[in-house]
Amino acid sequence: MSAASQDVATRNGIFARALIYAVLILFAVYYLLPLYVMVVNSLKPLDEIRQGNMLALPQQWTIAPWLSAWSTAQIGVSPTGLKPYFLNSVMMVVPAVALSTILGALNGYVLTKWRFKGDNIVFGLMLLACFIPFQIVLIPSARILGLTGLAGTITGLVLIHAIYGLGFTTLFFRNYYEAFPTELVRAAQIDGASFFQIFRRILLPSSGPIIVVTVIWQFTNIWNDFLFGSSFSGFNSIPLTVALNNLVNSSTGVKEYNVHFAGAILAALPTLIVYIVSGRYFVRGLMAGAVKG
């Protein structure tokens, strides 16, 4: 990318450049500070946090808080640690991401390559659905889950997440397929290729980047969700974010800050890893969801 505005830069004095670096580094510290605090204090015994200094490195390193957060910490009524809730989140996220991505891809395909009268209204309604405050659907959703016997189950959460993710996944694939040459589709059609053949053989092979963007977007959103998790989960389906909040904000017992921090990192780890491994796609998803949406 040839950065046009960067040409302005060359004319700054040394003092100005030093100042710019200072500000940039200061902000890097600001963004890293909470992560540093979490990591350092998750490796200290509790006494060291209470009496010592939150910014100091541990004097006595320990991984006990991590073990406790993972497998023995008291969450709600049972001392199970975050492990079962971590698994709940995985079982919720994987099918929900898969479902909403597949449907989004097919929707995007239809809305760009098989256009019909009123397709823009259909798309507009799906797009607007991305932005509703979910509070407005909480009561009827709870009702429907109750009526269908899915209240408090992981299946129920999967369905809810898949449905409310459809708007975004459709948006992503529609914008991507919009730029895909329609002539190729038409040529294949004349050659007698069917609807699904065209999708599988022509569009899908070049959909790699948008699939990655969509999967990351959906994974991050659903993994990090709290509202649906706290509203619709039952005893056996509580996702990790809700369990973490229960761990940290339970009013009984000693506040084990080191365990809280270890738990918070555990909850953040999957999305952080995704971000580190594929940051480029992550940012692209954010931009597509924000700028175009």
């Binding site: 040839s2 950065a3 046009a4 505005s5 302005v8 830069a9 004319r11 710019i20 670096y21 500000v23 940039l24 902000f27 963004y31 890293l32 500070l33 909470p34 605090v37 946090i49 209470r50 010592g52 449907l103 097919l106 929707n107 395909y109 239809v110 098989w114 019909f116 507009g124 799906m126 659905a129 509703i132 405050p133 509070q135 407005i136 659907v137 909480l138 009561i139 009827p140 959703s141 449905i163 069917s194 990090n224 709290f226 706290s230 974010t241 973490l244 909040n245 904000n249 800050y257 738990g263 918070a264 909850a267 953040a268 952080l272 971000y275 580190i276 940051g279 954010l286 931009m287 924000a290």
Partner: protein, 305 residues
């Protein structure tokens, strides 16, 4: 669009081809139906609820007209929530935009190590608001956090207990929220800056404009669409703000940090005031649509031209 439909007549006599013609709509139908029911149907359901006397469960047998809305706007907690939303969203949007723009401009000065700094600014966006809330809740806690640190470094009189003070607690939520989102705004502005036309800047430089002038008079005005996008995204996040508040203060101390989303949750599921909860959700939706609908309209309309 027309070209595709003209292939249809060939197929009329062939039943298999007719199926092929319907197939796209059959594929799209389930998703569209789900959105119609789960989004628009549910909005109508909630709208009806907001005119009903529902308490613990949906109850359409008693109609109370606008009574829920009247009670809502006379309820001190809702007024607190609206005030908090106003404080939070103004500060959140202004500070995020300011930091985002400043960092983007600074990063755009041929900075060594941009590749290291950028991901550092952006990673908070990958975290759950609950994680962010836990980190900041304890870091700002007077007992163990910042205040404790400063005092242990010898600044005995240092005091920072906003998170425990009713008047100030909402500002701690601003601090954490800005931390989470400002890097993302930076990325939006950086993308905008890198799209600025080289020629305009060259021309201004030849005319002898200073760097500051070029930014103030040319580049920043060109960022208007980015400001608009950032505003829409941040405003929308602010109105929905719920997780972060729950994790940091759970609305406390007292009701000092209630937001509309928290109000909806607490009244509907905690206090069995479903009618009022529904009314508050409707107001939230109206606020969001007032921002989003004109934006989408101009975005989509603009593309067609």
């Amino acid at each position: 669009m027309a070209d595709l439909t003209t292939t249809a007549p060939r197929a009329v006599t062939n039943p298999r081809a007719t199926l092929q013609d319907l197939l796209p709509k059959i594929v799209l139908a389930p998703s569209f139906a789900l959105i119609l029911i789960f989004v628009y149907g549910f909005i109508v359901f909630t709208a009806f609820l907001s005119f009903s006397g529902s308490k613990l469960l949906p109850d359409f047998s008693t109609w109370v007209g606008l009574n829920n809305y009247v009670r809502l706007f006379n309820h001190p907690n809702w007024i607190t929530a609206l005030k908090n939303l106003a404080i939070f969203s103004v500060l959140y949007i202004v500070i995020c935009s300011f930091i985002g723009l400043a960092l983007a401009i600074f990063l755009d000065q041929k900075i060594r190590g941009e590749g290291v700094l950028r991901p550092i600014y952006l990673y908070p966006m990958a975290l759950s608001f609950i994680v962010t809330g836990v980190a900041w809740k304890w870091f700002l806690d007077p007992g163990i956090g910042l205040e404790h640190v400063m005092q242990s470094w010898g600044w005995e009189s240092f005091s920072f207990r906003w998170i425990k003070e009713g008047q100030m607690a909402i500002y701690t939520i601003v601090i954490a929220a800005v931390w989470q989102s400002s890097g993302f705004v930076m990325a939006m502005f950086l993308a905008g800056l890198r799209g600025v036309d080289n020629e305009i800047i060259k021309a201004a430089q030849i005319d002898g404009a200073s760097t500051l002038t070029i930014y103030r008079r040319i580049i920043i005005p060109l960022m208007r669409p980015v400001f608009l996008s950032a505003f829409v995204v941040l405003a929308h996040l602010a109105i929905k703000s719920y997780d972060l508040v729950v994790a940091m203060t759970d609305g406390g101390p007292g009701t000092a940090t209630w937001t509309p989303a928290l109000f909806m949750q607490k009244f509907t599921f905690g206090r069995n005031e479903m009618g009022m909860g529904a009314a508050s959700a409707i107001i939230m939706m109206m606020m969001i649509f007032a921002i989003i609908v004109p934006y989408l309209y101009s975005e989509l309309g603009g593309k067609k031209k």
